[in-house]
Symmetry: C2
Subunit: 332 residues, 2 copies
């Protein structure tokens, strides 16, 4: 089997450009003992990939120059030399950015066919677990809570919104642009939506959408969104701090929030969390997700790019605000 | 009985000045049915008094012009026309700023004599309960934690430090000035002390005193102190947010902390709290405090001003940084 792949050719300076990458093709060897050969079906884009394109040390090593990059992918076993896998098995791996691979069987994890394959890159994967853990555990959602979600049309945010809605809550989402706002109202059926780019004051917009205040805030953004949530929070509100994307690309850290004293006077709980440290909740999460999906209660929020050729475009979609939901590449 | 008292004569514009107040004297009536007459022994200064000198609405009404102000006090019943009190009873009330008063018995609360009277204005009062609840409940102190306390020589901070020390923890305190730093090291026997006025970087100073990181931060200050704590916090550290005095008098809210993303990556818990909402823990608190005091484990941190005449000086001590621990006036 031949496999096309996307390689990192030089470390990007600022925003990655086309010439930082190349497309190559390799012959995949037949699987040796304990190995499998996989044809990738889908891959997902992940902001952490940008970090690995740089040389800087992190908790994962940088991508190697001249080699195929990596990232979450779902594929199908086409040949197996390992007793645990047979051709046709659906598997998850970190070996995206390529049409296929031959690798040791411990590099892939089997997934069941009862969900669409790309679900394991979205609502039934780490994205979904992040939403689930943050909303139900870190923010300890309870009956009657009004929920505010920033980056609500994104991969994680859209799942947070849907879990809160299916549990019967009033949900307000914020996102950038009229198209995303319409998505929140028309597709996810949220009770209120804020286009933060069109609002002179996020705090006033949130007060308008949630005149009763908010009890839970799922923070993907930090900065002005967090400031608005602090201002409008009810007594004892709980904030799940999932990420502060407003801070990632700024050279000068934001001065917001300027009203953190609200955490004292309102006795708020601000809980930072990383889903990777909550893998013990994976089984409960998957059981819930399967039931919700079977009942038609989960709408995957995804932007699909067809073909490996469009993978760099999908990557750009992570950062330019054009994409809605999870950025996915349909490889085959 | 004659009683001298301190009256608010006009609402201060910025920092209060002497002419905003007057001293007067009244004849106290004999107690009518259901009333007691009390001679005040001690009163405590409280930053909330500044708020009540202004006209602005708050959760308590402003002081009335031309009348004696109010504040926490401990006194002795001298005459009683109520079956629940006899002369000699020690009582706590909100009727400070005066040598004595005649009032309905429900305006006073009996206190036992097994602690020094002024303890009920400090480590055995709301000040102590604030320290206790914040450290043990909001920050959920657990064995092995390294504890950082800001405003550590203050009324609340000094009790936090002592509870953490008597429970065997490593404790680092921050305060302003060499005298307070010496107090933390020499009297409270802390493991490390930071004079924040003498340190070009609070973060570097904290890293130096706690090279192993901090697990609990008791925040009385906010701003740069909170920023340093976020920077040096260990994974899963817990912050009790008690007050952000750095923000109270500033017209332009501080831009710090600029590193709130640390709450996500380190999965921190930031818990705001107000002791008044934890009165259910009062009995457990008092039992512990009595035992610790009997064992000689609590050193009251207090600055004592002798005589009602010095009460305005004691009040200034709250804000000019000159006072150490609780600002107390010994009235009789």
């Amino acid at each position: 089997m031949r496999s096309r792949e996307v390689r990192l050719e030089r470390r990007p300076n600022g925003s990655p450009v086309r010439d930082d990458f190349s497309f190559g093709e390799v012959d995949l060897p037949d699987p040796g003992p304990g190995e499998v050969q996989v044809r990738n079906l889908w891959m997902a884009m992940d902001p952490a990939m940008r970090g690995r394109m740089s040389e800087a040390r992190s908790y994962v090593p940088p991508f190697e120059l001249g080699k195929a990059m990596e990232g979450p992918a779902v594929g199908e076993v086409v040949a197996s030399n390992d007793p645990n896998f047979v051709p046709g098995d659906l598997v998850w791996s970190r070996l995206g950015w390529r049409e296929g691979f031959t690798a040791p069987a411990n590099k892939v994890e089997k997934r069941s066919r009862d969900l669409p394959p790309q679900a394991y890159l979205g609502f039934a994967g780490m994205t979904g677990l992040t939403a689930y853990v943050g909303l139900l555990h870190s923010a300890a959602l309870k009956p009657g809570d009004t929920v505010f979600v920033s980056a609500a049309s994104g991969g994680v945010g859209s799942v947070v919104c849907q879990i809160a809605k299916l549990k019967g809550h009033k949900v307000i989402g914020a996102a950038g642009g009229e198209r995303k706002k319409r998505y929140l109202l028309d597709v996810l059926k949220l009770d209120g939506a804020i286009d933060y780019k069109a609002e002179p004051s996020l705090t006033k917009a949130l007060a308008r959408e949630a005149p009763e205040g908010i009890d839970v805030y799922f923070d993907n953004v930090g900065g002005e969104h967090l400031q608005a949530a602090l201002a409008i929070a009810n007594k004892y509100a709980r904030f799940a701090l999932c990420g502060m994307i407003s801070q990632y690309n700024s050279t000068e850290p934001s001065a917001a929030p300027r009203n953190l004293t609200a955490a004292v006077t309102k006795e708020l709980t601000l809980q930072g969390f990383i889903a990777l440290n909550h893998l013990d909740k994976m089984d409960a999460f998957l059981a819930d997700v399967r039931a919700w999906h079977a009942a038609g209660l989960l709408t995957p929020a995804e932007t699909v790019y067809e073909g490996l050729d469009r993978s760099l475009e999908a990557f750009d979609g992570l950062f330019d605000g054009s994409g809605l939901g999870k950025m996915l590449v349909k490889i085959a």
